[in-house]
């Protein structure tokens, strides 16, 4: 049974903050098939199209029949932990600091025997589930979990190295004026975050949900306007060294394409709130987060971007909005590369129309803010990088992988 995580002590100001180290992260191009699956939380291995052999580690040809047709496909994640060992010494700087470390060989029901990191509740001879995770360096690794969930299992020390669990962490929700920000504040409060800082711009403007927000456990309202560089910088000066997770809930949704915009005023606002807002946030908070990736139980761990799935393919009915979201996605990819040396993950959460005022005229299915918030918390608990929430986002993802041109045409209506 996993020892429940204790609330971390206050930091000893006399001790140096440990600099983040990363496990070895180089993978072959083929092996990034695992990265893609791990990023989205799927369990996939290569299976030969010709002889159906499932194998691991990734190879360019089937080890049984030499066929080059070896795509990554979802496979059965169940197996038996055949043998385990505990490593007490390593020359690898990352693992040296984390000794002892348990690994083992798992015989998968679908065939291969794989080397995996072990959850504390997975013991030799047990039935286990294998999970593909991204480690601190963003590389895909296999983790053997107990066959059934055990109490406090997300508190496992080795598992937490690969996840971004909000428990006991300090979270910044950047915009609490909208329903997504409020749902997010509640979800993180419920998930055991130590403090949930919630940004509110223009406090002189009343907004719905203000009272509910103030009553949430652990919520602290802070002045924050992502369109104002000084406001972002000032908050970072105060809270930058104790911000472990950022969830950027600032939104700017307006219908209409390029031609309906009639000038650039609204387009500039979109870019200011979303794209420049992301840059301001990243510049102000990113460097401190990157240096705090190994700062104990409540280390800096994730930067969450909420992105329209139409960042991936323009939806002309909300065309200018889609273009802004695409800019944000590109910036998020850059930020992911820049935060990776600190072991801080960038989680991109994609969704279709939300069940909010600015999508009032759009028919269902729509994503409720509460569902989005739940998905964000779960994705952090699992350590994912890319998440698609709701039917529309799932469909766009599926169709992009089949025929993006058809999707473009059909979104045009």
């Amino acid at each position: 049974m996993t020892e429940p995580l204790a609330r971390p002590k206050r930091k000893n100001p006399l001790r140096r903050t440990r600099q983040p180290l990363l496990p070895q992260s180089v993978r072959s191009r083929t092996a990034h098939g695992l990265t893609a699956a791990a990023a989205q939380g799927r369990f996939e291995l290569q299976r030969c199209v010709d002889c159906a052999a499932v194998f691991y580690p990734p190879r360019d040809a089937c080890p049984r029949c030499l066929s080059p047709r070896v795509p990554f496909v979802p496979v059965d994640d169940r197996g038996t932990l055949a043998v385990e060992t505990t490593i007490h010494a390593s020359t690898d700087p990352y693992f040296r600091e984390r000794m002892p470390w348990r690994v083992g060989l798992v015989r998968l029901d679908c065939g291969p025997v794989v080397l995996a990191h072990l959850h504390g509740d997975a013991r030799e001879g047990d039935r286990v589930r294998l999970d593909l995770k991204l480690d601190k360096g963003g590389a895909p690794v296999l983790v053997a979990l107990p066959a059934k969930d055990t109490p406090h299992m997300t508190d496992d020390r080795q598992l937490r190295e690969m996840t971004c669990d909000p428990k006991f962490r300090r979270v910044l929700i950047t915009d609490g004026r909208n329903s997504v920000g409020q749902a997010m504040a509640k979800a993180f409060s419920d998930a055991g975050a130590a403090i949930v800082f919630v940004g509110v711009a223009d406090a002189w403007k009343p907004f719905a949900g203000q009272e509910m927000l103030r009553k949430l456990a652990g919520v602290e309202i802070v002045p924050l306007d992502l369109t104002d560089t000084e406001s972002v910088t000032e908050l970072a000066e105060q809270n930058g060294a104790r911000t472990d997770i950022i969830v950027n809930t600032a939104e700017h949704v307006r219908p209409g394409g390029i031609l309906q915009r009639h000038g650039l005023t609204v387009a500039r606002e979109e870019m200011d709130v979303r794209y420049f807002g992301l840059m301001r946030l990243a510049q102000a908070f990113g460097p401190a987060m990157r240096s705090r990736g190994a700062d104990g139980v409540n280390s800096a761990t994730a930067f969450v971007n909420l992105l329209s799935v139409y960042a991936l393919m323009n939806w002309p009915a909300y065309g200018a909005y889609s273009a802004t979201e695409a800019a944000c996605l590109s910036a998020a990819q850059c930020l992911r590369a820049e935060l990776r040396p600190g072991g801080v993950k960038v989680l991109n959460v994609f969704f279709g129309p939300l069940d909010t005022e600015w999508f009032q005229t759009v028919p269902p299915p729509k994503v409720a803010p509460e569902a989005l918030a739940r998905a964000v918390v779960q994705a952090l608990q699992r350590g994912l990088e890319d998440v698609f929430v709701g039917d529309i986002a799932e469909e766009v993802r599926a169709r992009l992988s089949v025929n993006p041109k058809a999707l473009e045409r059909e979104l045009a209506g």
Binding site: V200, D202, A203, W204, K205, P206, I221, V222, P223, D225, T227, D228, T229, E230, S231, E234, E237, Q238, R254, T265, V266, R268, E269
Partner: protein, 280 residues
């Protein structure tokens, strides 16, 4: 014997004519007019540092700023409103510069506004004021002292679910000031020259409609009106020369005969709601 002009400057330097700054500092958090979100919005004041004696410019500090024409203490030109759109010299770049200097009548209704945040200026109120201080002369600014500039931002904006609740003029008094008194323009401490709920007046936004319809000007987000005498102050209010500009943020100064002005009162520091003070 010095010319009148040099004499004036000497008196300013000596302090027998006092210069009162009627301008709010341009800051990011100062409230701007709020319109329904589907309409175009006035850009708030924003500042981006270009360099500060660093690798971006080793020996100099400067900023890029963005700001809407109607942000902070600002001037409204007649072209701002549809009623003034076809008048000659109706934009900030074409208004004759002599118009930027004019005397002011300052109507103090701060006591009434303290009792009623929706105080409405009426013709009888102004007539009673004239009985005490003299008739408003043609070509004078009429400035409304409400002490609104001393409020917290939330109270300053006065927003509820029904919109803004701030003092301002009734439609008749604006028309009366233009037609019966031939005033230069109308100035307020509030976000706009109009009453908070002026969208429900007939015509809506009468201070804009009547003033600009007759080529008169507006000043808003003024401060320190409590340091002006009811009569006799001279207002210097020259907007930026923006091509076809509808208005602009500006520095508004008042020249006041020292003997005539009430002593500067200690200003209460502005409450900022949940905001913390700016550190820089």
């Amino acid at each position: 014997m010095a010319s009148d002009l040099l004499r004036l400057v000497q008196r300013v330097a000596q302090g027998s004519i006092r210069v009162v700054d009627l301008t709010q500092t341009l800051t990011q958090e100062f409230p701007v007019i709020t319109l329904p979100p589907e309409l175009g919005q006035c850009a708030p004041f924003r500042i981006e540092e270009v360099s500060r004696y660093d690798e971006r410019g080793p020996a100099w500090y400067w900023n890029n700023i963005t700001v809407g024409e109607h942000c902070g203490t600002h001037f409204d030109a007649p072209i701002h409103w549809i009623s003034g759109k076809d008048l000659p010299h109706n934009s900030v770049d074409t208004i004759p510069p002599a118009k930027f200097i004019a005397p002011a009548s300052v109507i103090d209704c701060s006591r009434e506004c303290a009792a009623d945040p929706e105080f409405m200026l009426t013709v009888p109120f102004v007539e009673a004021w004239e009985k005490r201080h003299g008739r408003i002369a043609a070509g004078e600014w009429v400035l409304l002292r409400t002490d609104w500039s001393k409020k917290s931002y939330a109270d300053y904006a006065g927003l509820t679910e029904e919109g803004a609740h701030t003092p301002g003029p009734a439609p008749e008094v604006v028309r009366w000031l233009v037609e019966e008194r031939d005033v230069h323009g109308f100035g307020t401490e509030t976000i706009g020259t109009d009453y908070g709920q002026a969208q429900h007046f007939n015509p809506p936004y009468p201070a804009h409609f009547y003033m600009h319809g007759k080529g008169r000007y507006g000043l808003q987000c003024l401060t320190n009106l409590d340091q002006l005498p009811p009569k006799g102050a001279v207002i210097l209010a020259a907007p930026l020369k923006i091509k076809q500009g509808s208005g602009s943020p500006l520095r508004v100064l008042a020249l006041v005969e020292e003997a005539a002005s009430p002593p500067p009162s200690r200003r209460a520091s502005r409450g900022r709601g949940i905001s913390t003070g700016r550190s820089r």
